[in-house]
Symmetry: C2
Subunit: 107 residues, 2 copies
Amino acid sequence: MDEETRDMFKERALIMKALAHPTRLFIVDRLGRRETCVCELVSMIGADMSTVSKHLSILKSAGIVEDEKRGLRVFYRLRWPCVLRFFDCIEGVLSAAAKERLKRYAK
Amino acid sequence: MDEETRDMFKERALIMKALAHPTRLFIVDRLGRRETCVCELVSMIGADMSTVSKHLSILKSAGIVEDEKRGLRVFYRLRWPCVLRFFDCIEGVLSAAAKERLKRYAK
DNA sequence: CTGCTGCTTGGCTATATTGCCAAATATATT
DNA sequence: AATATATTTGGCAATATAGCCAAGCAGCAG
């Protein structure tokens, strides 16, 4: 594998890493419905606001979300709704895993 | 967010985490073309075989790939080709990021 | 049985990620 | 100007991840 190819996969991995956390997946799912301010996300997630803010900044620097300040609040929006389609595929993987667990217990 | 929802996103994140590494994305890309033995992946990746094997076991326990032993070799296959479609979306995000970098330099 | 090949596992260190608190910043209100 | 609110940033300790080496295991050849 040459260096260019390596770099390409490293960049792709940065995007995937940004999505590879339960809280950030939740945020993406939420922002897929409508833009939301940090305060509202915090109350839904139940973590420290600083924690949520850092998750948002990870998503933002990956280019997945964008923000807009209006008054005191900062609203976040999903820039790439295509990431929502990941969920469908993932549900397939998960339901297959669940089926296999059932099979194993049946034995 | 209730515990059930939290667990759902935690499970989804496990799948995403399995994909959030350059080497594992490379493997998925490769397996999307044809099943491949560990030895061949090792020679393409250029890391220690034990390292590649561990990456494969992460993908396997996430349910993304499956393996089959034939003789001395173990062949890995992609179980969920839908993950390949992630790449298209990711390329969109990346090319937008590249465009923004260009804009910034032009200023 | 012995040795070889392909692969996996255990163990270890180096590095990265997470989440909280405290402090800093920005905008609105009084 | 002082205060309150919404958010971000710095710093730190706890935890998780990565990759190498060495050791173990399974299948085949002699």
